[in-house]
């Protein structure tokens, strides 16, 4: 009978030792101790030479069996240990995900800008162009070309910042309309909106500002009717202030339109029931509008017998104040970050997806 006690001992001592291994390093040492050149399993192979030829194969097979056992055990153990080490590292790397992220500060658009942009986008979709012009204008384009002759009461000095007899800070964006029409040399269609800053000789207080914003619109072509104005503004009111908005026209007066109307929309806050926004009337005055006065068409080179048109104007300052409940127009020009930063979010359309 061949002596295989040595083999059994090696196997047993390996099994004992591996049970105590707790790190990859120790496992490596154990591997060297058993499988290395001077290792115990290698030592078992060396003693093979003492055996007879007949015994050798069987002995060799047993030693290999142990070798395989040890190799597998070490591999298995190694996997376990590596996983444990990885887990330990992951544990160590764990962060508090509720801490704030690295800041990439985000600025905010000015509330007037976003109001203007929403209105611009609506009219762009209807095929309007955006026309811009001078903030310092001549008396002619600001007044005369708009049917406001020199003797007109609306031109009193207290309303206008004059720079010289003939130049002034524009009091409305209408001169852009006059200039645009003139540049078209009597050929329609003209379909523009004119956003921009305007100036009036007013003392600044909660509801007045010597500088504010205006958007005016103008359509001139053959066969433009007042019903087109109503239809356009109705669509505008529904897209911008909500699908259920109604509009109503009230006769009014502007020198550059005839007929002239004030346009009210049904209150977007109380839906017409009456609240503090609409002062209990259910209606909010939001626009001035009318059919372009024949004198205005004529002065800009359009034949009023052939062409007709409508025009309208609104104040984004007032619209933004109504929408957000801003109590003081001066907030728009003080540039308090605590104010401006409230207008950062992209969507602001309410539940019915109106744009303002």
């Amino acid at each position: 009978m061949m002596d295989t006690v040595g083999i059994t001992d090696v196997r047993k001592s390996f099994d004992d030792e591996i049970a105590n291994v707790s790190s990859v390093d120790e496992l490596q040492q154990l591997k060297v101790a058993f499988l290395g050149k001077k290792g115990k399993v290698t030592g078992l192979m060396k003693s093979m030479k003492d055996l007879s030829k007949e015994e050798r194969p069987e002995y060799g097979a047993k030693v290999n069996e142990v070798r395989t056992h040890i190799t597998e055990a070490i591999d298995n153990r190694s996997k376990v240990l590596e996983e444990a080490a990885l887990e330990a590292k992951l544990r160590e790397d764990t962060i508090d995900v509720t801490l704030p992220g690295r800041t990439f500060t985000l600025g905010s658009p000015h509330p007037l800008s976003r109001t203007v942009e929403d209105i611009e986008d609506f009219f762009l979709g209807l095929g309007y162009e955006i026309a811009e012009g001078y903030e310092v204008e001549t008396d002619y384009y600001n007044f005369e070309a708009l049917n406001l002759p020199k003797s007109h009461p609306a031109r009193d000095m207290q309303d206008t910042f004059y720079i010289s007899e003939e130049t002034l800070l524009r009091t409305h964006t209408s001169p852009v309309q006059a200039r645009t029409m003139e540049s078209r040399k009597g050929q329609g269609p003209v379909k523009i909106i004119c956003p921009g800053k305007v100036y009036r000789r007013d003392s600044d207080d909660a509801t007045h500002s010597h500088q504010f914003t205006q958007i005016e619109g103008l359509v001139v072509d053959r066969g433009i009717h007042m019903s087109d104005l109503k239809g356009t503004l109705e669509l505008f009111a529904r897209e911008i202030f909500g699908a259920e908005r109604e509009i109503r026209l009230r006769p009014s007066y502007f020198p550059f339109t005839e007929p002239s109307v004030e346009v009210d929309i049904s209150c977007f806050k109380c839906k017409g029931a009456g609240c503090n926004v609409c002062k209990g009337t259910g209606w909010i005055e939001i626009l001035g509008a009318g059919m372009v006065h024949p004198n205005v068409l004529e002065m800009a080179g359009f034949d009023p017998e052939i062409y007709s048109g409508f025009a309208f104007g609104m104040g984004p300052d007032r619209i933004a104040m109504l929408k957000y409940g801003i109590e003081d127009i001066r907030h728009f020009y003080t540039n308090d970050l605590r104010f401006i930063n409230q207008f950062k979010a992209t969507e602001d359309g309410g539940v019915t997806n109106e744009s303002i």
Binding site: L106, G107, P109, Y134, R201, S227, L235, P259
Partner: protein, 798 residues
């Protein structure tokens, strides 16, 4: 214009509740701003007859009155100095109420019982400045006998609501009760009853001649003489109607003048015939520097555009604006000349504006008076003087000039109205609508001939008729349609699109948008720019808003200071707006659209990680570079050290050059300037946005990706500390003729281990041949001249 319901009903009976009346009038184009209800909060108000007045034994200023209130006599203690026996007063009985929530109770005043209160007009809700002088600081007394116990509100005509009309400038026709009545007729139907105004003529001109020197200044001047007038208070009903219209009663003659004005919208003036000082009235333009004293006792210096009424030698009134002092009606007046005239509206507006004398009269003259009412008002006043001032008309109409009262005519077609409005009204509907306004129409073939009475001389063109049809027919009936205009593209211009992108990008970089005033102070206008010529206002409202800005930075600095004072440490703003450079008086200035920004504190600050980006020169420059990159202009722009502005740090400022043209600057605020504003390190930039946007980029050109690798070579240099990095980069770019695709500075070092005045700079060059693999030999062919060029420019290669 304040329109009393009760007075209006006398012109045109109407039973509609006042709220509905006001609503319909508003929808018809005259906005009813306010409804004043004199009955609100008032209870138990009766007429009382004061039988006796005795002194209160315990109080000097109190009287004990025995007042008959109809069914019984009450003792009422009254503190008014003007209370007197045998007078009819307004009594608020015990249990009654007055406006402002006052309740009247039985009381004891210094031991004496008081059962009720004798009221002043103020206590009934009349504004103090409308209370006649005789009742001020005292109680009101009726001018005539009344019945004790009758409803005092009704007796005072205060059982009434008054509508305040906010009239647009074109609606001068509604500046009278007549106008309000015609408007009511148009909206509700009915017939207008014009008050009596027929008087018996006296003898011809009664010794007074009238002459107009200038037909344009005074197209028509009419007068009547009324003699035997006794000045006294006017009757209570007239006083109360004036008060409700916002006019303070004075005496019967003045009140009648105002009353007829309110009735017909025609301003009248009353002269004391005996004080005119001549037998003629001559109207003319004033002479420059002519002096006259108006009835408020002030001496006025006139100009040649003013119109004066004279006695042939000197002014007795400033036409349409104010009477003269010596010819005015006084308590001694017995003979009155009533003036009813037409004056040049523009002249009246200029005169009243210049002298700051706006009145009920001038505001009507400057809009033009209706010819058909000129004589009606004159005769009405004469009649009232007979009825309420004891006068007798002593003259026929004395006049000079022409008064054209004929209707004008506007020719229009049904097609025009319908086409303009987008409606399909029949001829009958149009005629019916116009007839409500009192406009008669005749049909002639296709045309409608519309007769326009002078009270509606604001209607001049076809479109005016269209408007009248639309507003009376009602805009609710106007259909909705969309314009069938020719097709238009409806897109943003390149510049508008790029502006939006720049705005969104700056916001993504952490800058919030500001909008500042374009008007600024002279001092601020001079900062951060070298523009010659400031645009100045003729009449600024304040020094802070006197001129137009020439840079946006000063207001941005103000914005940062404002926010820093409100615990905001890290502030980053941008603004897009115009600056203005004068091209000389009378010429339009140059307007430049600029992009400006300001950053202070830290950017992208994450406190718990301790990471942040300082808001310094390089942060500002990085922001500008990022905008330029988006606009495709990064390679066209260079930066040059600059110290043009005192308010900027001389060592930390740069000019921005686009294709070698200076278009703006970047810099940190000068420490001194920053300190003056209580700021620490703050960087700013301002560039000509219009110029940047005007560069046309054409298309993006796609470049095929190289299949061959690129090779980088680093160069370490030692150079004089004053050598700009940009100079080194450009030296490299010029020296390499082929394959060099990128050069950038990756390291700059000054300090320890460096010779004083020197710095070390690391450059990284990238070579690429898209056609083939680059050999070392090929690279050396490029790289050797680069090194040589650097060395010949004084760089020492390490």
């Amino acid at each position: 214009m304040k329109v009393s319901r009760e007075w209006l009903n006398e012109w045109i009976p109407n039973e509609v509740p006042v709220n509905a009346l006001a609503e319909k009038i508003t929808r018809g184009g005259i906005e009813v701003d306010e409804i004043i209800d004199y009955t609100s909060g008032v209870k138990n108000l009766v007429v009382g007859y004061v039988k006796t007045v005795t002194q209160h034994p315990e109080a000097d200023r109190l009287r004990i009155c025995q007042v008959d209130t109809g069914e019984e006599t009450h003792q009422i203690i009254c503190g008014a100095p003007n209370v007197k026996a045998d007078s009819y007063v307004v009594v608020c009985k015990v249990g009654g109420r007055l406006p402002g929530g006052i309740k009247i109770k039985r009381a004891k005043l210094r031991g004496e019982v008081s059962e009720g209160m004798i009221c002043s007009l103020e206590e009934l809700g009349i504004k103090e400045d409308q209370v006649p002088a005789e009742y001020q600081n005292g109680i009101f007394m009726f001018q005539e006998e009344r019945t004790p116990g009758e409803d005092a509100l009704a007796a005072l005509l205060l059982d009434d609501q008054v509508m305040e009309f906010d009239l647009t400038p074109n609606r001068k026709d509604a500046l009278s009760m007549a106008g309000a009545a015609y408007e009511t007729r148009a909206l509700f139907g009915g017939e207008v009853e014009v008050p009596a105004h027929e008087v018996a003529d006296g003898s011809e001109t009664a010794g007074l001649e009238i002459r107009n020197e200038d037909d344009e200044a005074v197209p028509f001047y009419g007068a009547r003489i009324v003699q035997g007038v006794t000045i006294a208070p006017s009757p209570t009903w007239m006083q109360m109607r004036l008060i409700k219209a916002g006019v303070r009663p004075i005496n019967n003659v003045v009140d009648i003048s105002n009353y007829a004005l309110l009735e017909f919208g025609q301003p009248l003036h009353m002269f004391d015939r005996d004080q005119i000082g001549s037998d003629e009235i001559v109207t003319r333009y004033a002479r420059d520097d002519e002096k006259m004293t108006t009835l408020d006792g002030k001496e006025r210096t006139l100009e040649s555009g003013d119109i004066v009424i004279t006695n042939g030698s000197e002014p007795i009134a400033l036409a349409g604006v104010m009477g003269g002092e010596f010819s005015e009606v006084t308590d001694q007046t017995t003979t009155v000349v009533i003036e009813s005239a037409v004056f040049d509206p523009v002249s009246i507006r200029k005169t009243s504006g210049r002298l700051n004398l706006r009145s009920e009269a001038s505001s009507r003259f400057e809009k033009g008076v209706s010819h058909e009412f000129v004589l009606k008002a004159l005769d009405r006043a004469a009649l009232l003087l007979e009825q309420y001032a004891g006068g007798t008309v002593a003259s026929s109409l004395i006049s000079a000039g022409e008064l054209d009262v004929r209707d004008t005519e506007i020719s229009i077609t049904r097609a025009f109205i319908n086409d303009h409005l987008g409606m399909e009204l029949s001829t009958e509907e149009i005629q019916d609508t116009l007839s409500k306004l009192g406009l008669d129409t005749k049909v002639e073939n296709d045309a409608l001939l519309v007769s326009i009475p002078s009270r509606r001389d604001d209607l001049k063109i076809k479109q005016d008729i269209t408007e009248e049809v639309a507003r009376i027919y009602g805009y609710d009936a106007l259909p909705s349609s969309m314009p069938r205009a020719g097709t238009t593209s409806g897109k943003l211009t390149d510049e508008q699109k790029k502006t939006r992108i720049v705005r969104h990008q700056l916001e993504s970089l952490g800058l919030s948008q500001t909008i500042n005033y374009a008007l600024t102070s002279r001092g601020k206008a001079d900062q951060f720019n070298e523009l010659e010529g400031t645009v100045e206002l003729l009449m600024p409202m304040s020094e802070d808003h006197a001129v137009l800005r020439k840079s946006m930075i000063p207001h941005l600095v103000d914005n940062v200071v404002y926010n820093r004072n409100r615990q905001q440490k890290d502030v980053q703003f941008y603004e897009i707006g115009r600056i203005f450079k004068s091209n000389g008086t009378g010429a339009l200035p140059e307007e430049r659209e600029m992009l400006a920004g300001i950053i202070t504190g830290e950017m992208n600050r994450t406190d718990w990680l301790g990471t942040k980006v300082p808001a310094d020169f390089f942060a500002a420059k990085g922001i500008v570079e990022s905008v330029l990159e988006k606009l495709g202009l990064r390679d066209s722009v260079r930066y040059e050290q600059s110290s043009r502005f005192d308010a900027l740090h001389p060592g930390r400022s740069a000019d921005v050059l686009l294709d070698n043209e200076r278009i703006g600057f970047i810099g940190e605020l000068h420490p001194k300037y920053a300190q003056q504003n209580d700021l620490d390190r703050t960087a700013v930039f301002e560039v000509d946005l219009a110029r940047l946007l005007s560069v046309k980029q054409g298309n993006i050109i796609y470049d095929q990706l190289s299949r061959y690798p690129s090779i980088t070579r680093d160069i370490a240099l030692v150079v004089e500390e004053t050598v700009a990095a940009d100079t080194l980069v450009r030296t490299v770019e010029t020296a390499a003729t082929k394959h060099l695709v990128d050069v950038f500075v990756f390291d700059v070092y000054e300090g320890d281990n460096m010779e004083a005045g020197k710095k070390s700079v690391g450059l990284r060059l990238t070579y690429l041949n898209k056609e083939d693999t680059l050999t070392d030999e090929e690279i050396e062919k490029q790289h050797t001249p680069v090194l040589e060029a650097l060395e010949s420019n004084g760089a020492q290669i390490r």
